[in-house]
């Protein structure tokens, strides 16, 4: 009687690898839990964790974008029913997102041809996670010390006018956004969408961690409308990135996406319930530490002499 290994694996046809299915569900569950706990998308944690698990970086980023479509669809549906989506603003952001996403996918294709894509994805993660993690850590530490009212950060009733906001008001193509109760030039949200679209393609993230603060503090949108509008544009931007990645780079692994989403949707529910019992500043400092730990691991991989100087370009596949 032929023997068999005792672990249940699932074969990922695009990543060309076999991985323990419970580990993958657990990974999705962990990121979903953190996402529910901290109220973040989790894409910026999922891609690095997939890379640590051995998934090729290109496949991890592209599949994460597709997974975000599933995760954000659920949230966007709920927010649109509650009337929290500014569709006019969402379409402007989306136009930028589609432009940026298409540019980002093209950048990935070019880097893949040069054999530099894995390094660049890791480097971008180190920079972005380092900046965001440090900012969150300092801000949360200040909040814990009582220097700053944390609630003012998460739900500002009257956001102060920033220099960029004043500049946006002076630019041409001023449009009135009724739902957001503001009038601003479409140029700024378009470029914001473009920047986040590029990040979505390279990092496999939704970009809410940049988009939401920018919409609140720079554009002056109400927090809840910013969140709902962000989810709306994330769904469509990530649909564009998913299709573009599938066409240009063949790196979307649907099996990986479904398994991850199964884990993350359950984890998010548990995380949201646990999160209600913790204070906001405690949660944010915990998230900052997690983000910084992931960044340190990625930086370590770039700095420490590799055990094998030869690696598969694009992380895998071939056979």
């Amino acid at each position: 009687m032929p023997g068999q290994g005792d672990k249940m694996d699932i074969y990922l046809p695009i990543a060309h690898m076999s991985i323990n299915v419970f580990f993958l569900i657990g990974l999705g569950g962990l990121v979903g839990f953190l996402s529910g706990l901290f109220g973040v998308g989790g894409g910026f944690l999922l891609t690095p964790l997939l890379i640590f698990a051995g998934i090729p970086p290109m496949v991890a980023a592209a599949s994460d974008s597709n997974q975000i479509v599933a995760a954000a669809s659920s949230g966007a549906y709920t927010h649109s029913r509650m009337g929290n989506v500014d569709f006019k603003m969402g379409i402007v952001l989306l136009l930028g997102g589609i432009t940026g996403g298409s540019v980002g996918v093209q950048i990935i294709k070019m880097l893949a041809a040069l054999g530099e894509v894995d390094f660049v994805i890791k480097l971008v993660y180190v920079v972005i996670l380092g900046v965001i993690g440090s900012f969150m850590f300092i801000e949360s530490l200040n909040a814990l010390r009582g220097r700053k009212d944390v609630r003012e950060y998460t739900a500002p009733s009257e956001p102060k006018e920033s220099g960029l906001r004043k500049l946006a008001m002076k630019l041409p193509w001023q449009v009135n956004f009724d739902k957001s109760r503001l009038t601003t030039s479409v140029i700024f949200p378009f470029f914001l969408g473009t920047f986040v679209g590029i990040l979505a393609a390279i990092m496999g993230v939704g970009g809410g961690f940049i988009m939401v603060p920018a919409m609140i503090y720079i554009l002056g949108m109400p927090t809840i409308v910013a969140i709902g509008t962000d989810l709306f544009q994330i769904v469509l931007t990530c649909i564009n990135v998913t299709i573009q990645q599938a066409i240009r780079n063949h790196t979307v692994d649907l099996i990986l996406v479904v398994v991850l989403f199964f884990g993350s949707s359950v984890g998010a529910q548990v995380g949201a319930r646990v999160g209600k019992r913790l204070r906001g500043e405690q949660l944010r400092i915990l998230l900052a530490i997690i983000v910084l730990l992931v960044m340190i691991k990625m930086l370590y991989d770039l700095l420490v002499t590799p055990g094998n100087p030869i690696s598969l370009a694009g992380g895998g596949g071939g056979h």
């Binding site: 390094f119 998913t242 989403f261 030869i310 598969l312 071939g318």
Partner: protein, 267 residues
Amino acid sequence: MRLAILGSILAALLVTAAGSAMAAAAESDGAPVLKIEPRILGGSLFSRHYQTVVITGTCPEKCEVVVKVISPTGAFKLNKAGKSLGFVWVPSGHAEVTEIPVMYAVLCSTKISSILSPAEQERAGLCPDFRGIYQQAKIRFEKDVPRDERTALHKEYVAGLIKIFMEDGLYQYREGAVKMDSRTFTARLVYPANAPPGDYKIFCYVIEAGRARLLCQDKLLVKSSREVEWLSYYAHAKPAIYGIFSALVAVAVGLLVGIVLGRRTGR
């Protein structure tokens, strides 16, 4: 009439006896009688981490047996890491290695160096360090490489790829994986789930007086699952349909979860 019937029975008995005697003689000579269980490995989306393929056969008495399993070849694009700015590791070279078997297993009944000289190991392609692969694999460098550096770089790239394969369990050298029992041997091949589909060649060598003699060879067929084939086909041959399908599946699953949870939470 009775004589005719008796004659027929006698003739039939003689033919049967002669056949049995020939088969017994063939077995005693170590003629190829190979049994592979399972002969066809059917892939599926969900599988065990590895499967064991049992290869049994007959061999001469008091000998050692080595079983070699080779998969179809593949092509791999590789990066070579080099230090930049004195502290960060970046890809410093690129090459494509082709005509390299993706899985290569050498299973033996005892330590191979104790039964075969290095020259004989190399001749039969039974080196524990997979030396034969270096000659078989072809390499194409992304940029022009000076002629005097080509051999060393070729070796470095192939060695690196073999190391990756070994870590994935695709390249195996396993002593004691072949059990001997008088005139039969049983080899256990650990087949990892991430090995590629295709026709695998199985070679059985008998080691006598320090020389490896090919005893018999056979094939193991590995099929990929329909789901995997379907997804791979659409992902590469019809990527637009695959991309749209992936996005639609994600939206449908996301909305379904949103609706279900919305009902549960009353939103």
